[in-house]
């Protein structure tokens, strides 16, 4: 049966040699299309990464600027809260220094005298490190794909 089939195929090819050329062309075209798709995907991914990188830089710059501005404003607030400044403001408003004999102490049930509190902002915890390259990402995707494939085909 298979012998007959092979002979039929030889005969058919002998009669229509263009079929071989079409097959070769189709294979080349297929390869080209696959390459184009991979290239396009790579380009899209690279573009998206580059854009994200640029956006990240812009955001980082903005963050730096805002942090600097924040620092400046806090320093300005601190400068406006210096004791000489506040003393002068209080005098301007008509306040006078309280003498020891002018202070009245009262017992208030449940009142606890003020204790120093950690009122300063806690320094921000560093962001988690991000060091994944495009190659790493592609490898990860590929490994994930292989794992899924193994699951479907029952591989281990």
């Amino acid at each position: 049966m298979s012998q007959t089939r092979r002979e039929w195929l030889k005969h058919a090819l002998h009669q229509a040699p263009w079929r071989t050329q079409v097959q070769a062309t189709a294979l080349v075209a297929l390869g080209l299309v696959v390459s184009i798709i991979i290239g396009a995907l790579y380009l899209a991914q690279a573009t998206s990464t580059a854009t994200a990188g640029r956006d990240l830089k812009v955001l980082e710059r903005e963050l730096d600027r805002l942090e600097q501005e924040n620092n400046r404003l806090r320093a300005e607030v601190a400068s406006s809260q210096t004791v000489p400044y506040l003393t002068q403001r209080a005098r301007d408003l008509g306040f006078v220094q309280a003498g020891n004999d002018q202070v009245m102490y009262l017992v208030v049930n449940g009142y606890r005298p003020p204790e120093p509190e950690p009122v300063v902002p806690v320094a921000a915890e560093p962001l988690p490190e991000y060091d994944e390259t495009l190659n790493d990402w592609l490898s990860e995707q590929w490994n994930g794909f292989l794992e899924q494939l193994n699951l479907r085909t029952g591989g281990d």
Binding site: G53, R72, A75, N100, V107, V120, A123
Partner: protein
């Protein structure tokens, strides 16, 4: 003709082939046989071509007072640079720059002409750097040939307040002196993680490991008390015509330093304008002979060892000879029968020397060491001195030292050391380590400083006895130190100033150490005046300055007068 061309072609072909072979051989050797350091060099060249090294300096931690007032922070300045070659229309550019930077246009134009004539390709804007807001305004103008270079700076919003306590940071980011120097590592953050490679070819998202910021520090310093103390330092210098003055305020129960004021001080924002000597905090970094204040330690040692009780009597003959040296009382008088309290109230050198000689060096000096005399206290400030206590057995020690040390002569201490030693008396005999850090707030968490005990030089009972004597000193010996409404325990000191050839004539270091309320001390204060002209005596200068200062201090610290405090305690007990 054709043969000639063929020959020439063959020759050229051979040459080209040979060159190609050489090139291939070289390429192969480069790939295979290259030394490792050359490989590393070439890899570095490759990486440098495609990557930039990006440095990120971690934000230096901020410093706050105990109630959260900012004492030190970071700021950004800009250096404005001008490149004449890149400016086509200097009149317009300089006019806009002058308006944005708030500089005189005439001055900028004069600078331009001078630099342009000299052929400068770049020069910094006259009048120094500009602040962040001005820099951003200039940047927004987009002026050609005008560049902005960011410069990180440390900023101290309270200016001179607590300058020597805080220290300063150099342009290179290194902390010096005070807290900035002592805690430089904690404040600076993690610098080693701050360099990262950033790809020039944008196929990878830029990765920059975030540097770990420095920890914020909360000091035990109370800004208001510090301001008050610095004001009274100035007042004391003016009133008593003293060369220098200092006031140190501490909580004897915990060792927390509330204020540390000393002249002349400096503004850490402009540390370069001050002589280097002024950077050292004299309260921790300079030693002096304490004088009669030291007698309370001698008395405490005598009571602790048990050679006397508060009621013990001795005959004061006005003079005693120890190791061949005559020791006299400050007024050269003989006081006859005296008890231990009178010894302190009248500040009798002869009595103190009798105590130390009765103790003997084998008991006297170990007791002083228990008070941490002769050793650094371990206060968390840069530049602490240990003081000097010549001990029995030292080659430089002589028997006369045993007599003079008893009243604070021939022994050197720092002000913080002296205050710490006396604070043991206020703290029921427990000696605490002085410190200026209340909290460290960083990415690792919040750490609150706990009191550290250096030891127990005297018992609780002896501490009470000496306190009682010191109350009498203020009541009868130094009444100018009294604070209306409060019981104060204290002791004055009038110390001669040693010179290489002996002691200065007619000058002194006048001091007073006192704590209140005497029965439940909340605060202990050292006041010191160097070479006061008004009077050399501590009773006439340091004691009244202490009184004036303490009257304001109790208001700030909300310490009620004794009578009010007792009433409040009774009321609170009834309500409970």
């Amino acid at each position: 003709m054709i043969e000639t061309i063929d020959r020439r072609l063959a020759f050229v072909s051979v040459i080209v082939t040979l060159l190609s072979v050489v090139l291939v051989i070289r390429l192969v050797t480069l790939q295979i046989q290259l030394p490792e350091e050359e490989i590393a060099f070439l890899e570095r060249m490759r990486d440098d071509s495609y990557h930039d090294l990006r440095y990120e300096t971690p934000a230096r931690g901020e410093i706050y007072d105990r109630y959260g007032y900012l004492l030190a922070t970071n700021s950004l300045e800009y250096q404005v640079g001008i490149s004449p070659a890149l400016i086509a229309n200097p009149e317009d550019v300089l006019a806009k720059l002058a308006a944005a930077a708030g500089r005189d246009p005439v001055m900028l134009w004069a600078q331009w002409e001078e630099q342009d004539a000299a052929g400068a390709y770049w020069y910094p804007l006259a009048g120094g750097n500009v602040d962040l807001a001005t820099g951003q305004t200039i940047e927004d103008l987009g002026l050609p040939g005008v560049e902005l270079g960011p410069i990180q700076r440390r900023f101290y919003p309270q200016s001179t307040l607590a300058g020597p306590v805080i220290g300063f940071v150099s342009l290179e980011g290194q902390g010096y002196y005070g807290v900035e120097g002592y805690y430089n590592q904690q404040l600076a953050g993690r610098v080693e993680d701050s360099a990262s490679r950033e790809s020039n070819i944008p196929f990878e998202a830029a990765y920059a490991p975030p540097p770990q910021p420095g920890a914020n520090l909360v000091l035990t310093i109370d800004r208001d008390v510090q301001f008050l103390a610095e004001g009274y330092v100035r007042l004391g210098m003016e009133t008593y015509e003293a060369e220098n003055a200092m006031i140190l305020v501490m909580d004897p129960r915990t060792g927390e330093i509330l204020a540390m004021a000393a002249s002349p001080g400096y503004d850490p924002n402009q540390y370069g304008l001050y002589p280097a000597e002024s950077y050292v905090n004299p309260i921790v970094g300079s030693i002096y002979e304490p004088g009669s204040v030291f007698k309370v330690l001698t008395m405490a040692c005598a009571l602790q060892v048990g050679i006397v009780t508060p009621d013990s009597m001795y005959v004061d003959e006005g003079m005693i000879e120890v190791g061949g040296r005559k020791i006299e009382n400050w007024d050269k008088r003989a006081y006859g029968q005296q008890d231990m309290t009178q010894l302190l109230v009248r500040s009798l050198n002869v009595g103190a020397a009798k105590l130390s000689t009765t103790l003997g060096p084998s008991r006297f000096y170990p007791c002083l060491e228990d008070f941490n005399i002769g050793a650094p206290t371990g206060v968390d400030l840069e530049g602490e001195e240990a003081g000097r206590l010549k001990k029995w057995g030292d080659p430089v020690w002589s028997e006369s030292d045993l007599g003079t040390n008893a009243f604070g002569q021939g022994v050197s201490v720092t002000p913080v050391q002296m205050l710490t030693a006396v604070s043991a008396i206020a703290n029921q005999g427990l000696l605490v380590r002085p410190h200026v850090i209340y909290q460290q707030v960083g990415v690792d968490g919040v750490f609150t400083a706990q009191p550290q005990y250096l030891g127990r030089p005297i018992s609780e009972q002896v501490a009470r006895q000496v306190t009682e004597m010191m109350i009498n000193v203020v009541e009868y010996g130094a009444p100018k130190a009294k604070v209306p409404g409060y019981t104060v325990a204290g002791k004055t000191g009038t110390a001669q100033i040693p010179t290489p050839g002996g002691y200065e004539d007619g000058t002194s270091i006048a001091s007073f150490i006192g704590f209140l309320p005497a029965d439940a001390p909340q605060v202990i204060v050292l006041v010191r005046l160097d070479r006061p002209n008004e009077s050399i005596w501590g009773t006439q200068t340091a004691a009244p300055l202490f009184s004036e200062f303490a009257q304001r201090l109790v208001v700030l610290l909300e310490i009620p007068p004794d009578a009010t405090r007792y009433n409040l305690q009774v009321q609170a007990a009834v309500q409970e």
